[in-house]
């Protein structure tokens, strides 16, 4: 449509260009300095990358919930991080009960299955209730209204679960089979990370199949394309939205258990906030509303977050680089939104969607 006239000089554009160049220079400089210093061996990097992949696959599972909902309702379900927390927290009690009864010792895999079931059920219920109570009545309201509601719901859920289950961190019981390490080519890899990564990939594959191959998935895609036309074609839009939230909840619940399995410091009622923010970043990174994009974005974010502090920040001589891990994701979100708002895989969004 309109081409930006190059002669129209704008300070903002200049600033953004300077930022772009500055970021690239900083990254290259930091990375080259670290590599040149030889502080980390190749096997170190492999371990970090695998840890990042595991972490990233959890982000990807949560990000799918954001992306699916955004694709259909064009709204950010700000409380999705709390859906994830609800599943992880509830499954913790199931895990403890199973560990106490000795069932965990005998059938660890079945136990993980049971935990997934508990967490997915809880998260789905929370997600669906959220949609029904907080979002559905506001579906035609201006866009800021459901967002404010979502923020309120997010804090409400955090403190509700703190009130119900208590404050403080709670660690999942130890699974013997997940404990060891594999040594592959000099790099030691935690088994639990591989298990997390594989389970997450399986779930994503299942989701992909569901959306692409089933009739319900087709109606989901139709609704995300155009709600009104889809309704005219005989699709029950409310039902599709319900299913979307339910699927988001299922994936978030599973992500909660996976996170609980490898998170040594345990889980708490406030565990959902930062992963929620990061998963949103991942969804944007991959192109929000785009399912493979969310998967890719999550894994990419996990890896960057895992190696970023050591690779770039330490090279720049910043002390305590690992403290800034959470900031990396946010900076990435800002950079992506500035320079490529459509994400890695996203199509150019219309003004209305962006």
């Amino acid at each position: 449509m309109f081409r930006n006239a190059p002669e129209r000089f704008s300070w903002v554009a200049l600033l953004l260009w300077a930022l772009r160049v500055g970021v690239v220079i900083l990254i290259v400089w930091g990375a080259s300095a670290t590599i040149a210093s030889g502080r980390y061996s190749a096997s170190n990097w492999i371990s970090l990358i695998v840890a990042g992949l595991a972490q990233g696959s959890v982000y990807a599972l949560i990000a799918l919930g954001y992306s699916l909902v955004y694709g259909i309702l064009l709204m950010i379900n700000f409380a999705h991080g709390e859906v994830f927390m609800a599943g992880a927290f509830t499954a913790y009690f199931a895990a403890r009960a199973l560990a106490n009864s000795g069932y965990l010792e005998k059938h660890p895999l079945l136990t993980i299955g049971a935990l997934l079931l508990v967490a997915m059920t809880t998260s789905t219920i929370i997600a669906v209730l959220l949609e029904r109570i907080a979002y559905r009545p506001l579906r035609n309201a201006p866009r800021l209204v459901p967002l404010i509601t979502a923020i309120g719901a997010s804090f409400f859920l955090q403190y509700t679960f703190r009130g119900l289950y208590g404050s403080g961190f709670k660690a999942y019981p130890a699974f013997e089979i997940l404990r060891g390490r594999w040594v592959i080519g000099g790099a030691s890899i935690q088994i639990v990370q591989v298990v997390v990564l594989v389970s997450a990939l399986l779930l994503m594959a299942a989701l992909f199949w569901f959306v692409e191959r089933t009739k319900t998935g087709k109606s989901m895609r139709a609704v995300s394309e155009d709600k009104e036309i889809a309704a005219l074609m005989g699709i029950d839009v409310n039902r599709v939205i319900f299913i979307t939230f339910a699927i988001g909840g299922l994936l978030a619940g599973a992500a909660g258990v996976l996170r609980g399995l490898y998170q040594p410091q345990g889980i708490s009622a406030f565990m959902g906030f930062i992963p929620g923010l990061k998963a949103f970043t991942a969804a944007v990174l991959g192109g929000i509303g785009n399912i493979p994009g969310a998967m890719l974005g999550g894994i990419f974010l996990g890896v960057v977050e895992s190696i970023g502090p050591n690779l770039v920040l330490e090279g720049l001589g910043i002390p305590g680089a690992n403290q800034l891990r959470d900031a990396i994701a946010i900076v990435m979100l800002v950079l992506v939104l500035i320079f490529r708002p459509q994400g890695i895989l996203g199509e150019k969004l219309s003004e209305e969607k962006a």
Partner: protein
Amino acid sequence: MDNTKLKLGLRMGFFGAIVALYLCLVGLIETFGERDIITGVISLGHILLLLAGLMIGYLTMRQVDQHINPLHEAERKAPGLGDTAHSIMAGIITGLALGLLMLVLDRLNIRDVLVSASPKLLELLLLENGITPAVLSLLPFGQGLAAGVLRIVVLGAVLGLAGGALYLLPASVRRPLIFGIGMVALLGLLSDLMRIALDQPGWSESFYKLLYTGRGLSSQGAGITVVATAAITAFWSYIPDFYARVISILTAWLPPWLRTTLAALLSISLLLRLAWFLGIETAYPPTLPACPGVTTGDINLAQCPGLILEGFTAPQGSTEGGLTSSAPIVSAAITLAESLMFLGIAASIVLLLLRAVQQASRAGKQQWPAPPPETLERAKRVVALYLGVAALLFVPGVVGVYPSEVLVMVGLYVVMGLGINIVVGMAGLLDLGYVAFFAVGAYSTALLTTVDASVGGAQMSFWGALPLVVAITAIAGLMVGAPVLRMRGDYLAIVTLGFGEIARILALSDWFKPWLGGAQGIIKIPDIHLGGIEFVGPQKLYYLILVSCLIAYFITARLKGSRVGRAWGAMREDEQVADVMGVNTTAYKLLAFAMGALIASVSGAIFAAKLGTIYPHSFKVEVSITALGLLIVGGIGSLPGVVVGAFALVGLPELLREFSEYRMLIYGAAMVIMMLVRPQGLLPSAGRGRELQGEELGQDDWMRMAAEAEAAGSDSAA
């Protein structure tokens, strides 16, 4: 019985059961059970349950009333007492759920999972302990679990009935009743505050003893409160008339020179009192030296009447206790001004009496002479302004130290609320990282003024630093604003949230530790001085905050109707249209961020000086959410809304320590409920909230309105 109504009753009962179980299991009932409202009779936890029951009954009745087939609108008839059956049913279901919970609590130990499911909760639900025998005899079925379960079910039914009946009552009866009960809850909640303010030797002590006993209201106090509040509510509508009558008499019967002199004397003595109050070096906790009329301690509500009288009768002020050299002069001036004022008041009273006698002597010939309406209106406004200003100026002296502390916190949030109102309310940019500006303001103040040699070195005075702080924060606002210029709505919200987090992470990190002090923060921030006044302690800081609030309000009010405000409004409603109409959206967005930031910086600067130490922990995302929440609860774009919101969301939790754990829970719920039920806020600003309700004026409405206006115009012309 109507089938759909039956379903409604069942559904509301189910809803009530969920709410009641939620309240119990999330720990609210147990925590609030510790707080007596009426000592030995009822705790806040019980009140919460009672209110839940009443609400269920009330809402069920409303649903039954409103639920009518639109096709049969003509057959609609007012609900009768028979319809309370549904309310009772809903109440019983709620009661049954609680009874079931009691059985579970008694038989199973679910405390491992649900931490609040404690024996304490069971005890509270049994309604046996902490209740006077007289009340216990009203609750039938005696002791024991089975009796308790039965009792709670019956109580549910009774509350359902009461709630339903409340709906059926005419508003003139319902309002005084609700206000009376609400006032009991409020006074009971504020019992600690009341003890500090009132439990002083003198007349206030007997007043306190009349209403309170132990940690809550006494039974008779509760009775008095209900009756008095109900009476006041019932006669509330007459108060403006009464006020107008009094002003009318005063303006008509007092000669103008006397009114002017009185007003001038009043102002002078108030200002002198204020100067006295501010000039005295108050340690924290304050030990005020003697002021004319005040013997010891801070100025207190209890002593006010006595204070004025004593100030009149005992004119010499003591100069002990580190007063400045000007103290005797000020004290003499106070005495002089107040003496003259009392003389003037006495003269006015004599004059009024004379006039009344004169009037009576020729009764029937001439009624009260009414002043011209515009004079009356002006007089009413002036008197109201006087009362308002006096109240604002003297509130910290009257209420004491701790409530002043709360007022200071409320004031800080009012300033922030006004600032975020510019960004969110006026420009429509949902900024969730507002705390970052507050933090930048606080940190830059700390760095510029601290006398701690290990960080900063400027060691400036607060006033010297303030312009720099404002400038720095405004630049920070621009820096946040620039990258997010092209983002809209929800993206902007998340990114600003991220910025807020980044600010906190950086302040905490080792990287910035040499400059920002890491987790320990910055210490030794000096107090604020201005002339001879040292703003130490909440009672004095209050004035600083008050001035900041007024400035922030002034800025907001001036911006609102200005070119800038209208440009923001256009941008908020539709950015593309605004752009096309020639609004430079880039510049105005940046301006909004900078304005919001600089207002927050003032709040942050005072915050830093108030605490003397700042650390990253004070600048969590919760601060942004609180500021946003008070704006939403109060009403976006309205100043009274911001003040009310700040009192509700900051003041109340600050006063009620039990709330602190559930603060964010309540904010979250309030935000959701406000958006669902009343998006324009409690005290909406005129003409706003349309955007939030989504009822935008359609083209047809415009045309209709234009046509009507035209018709009205031609009518008047004809």
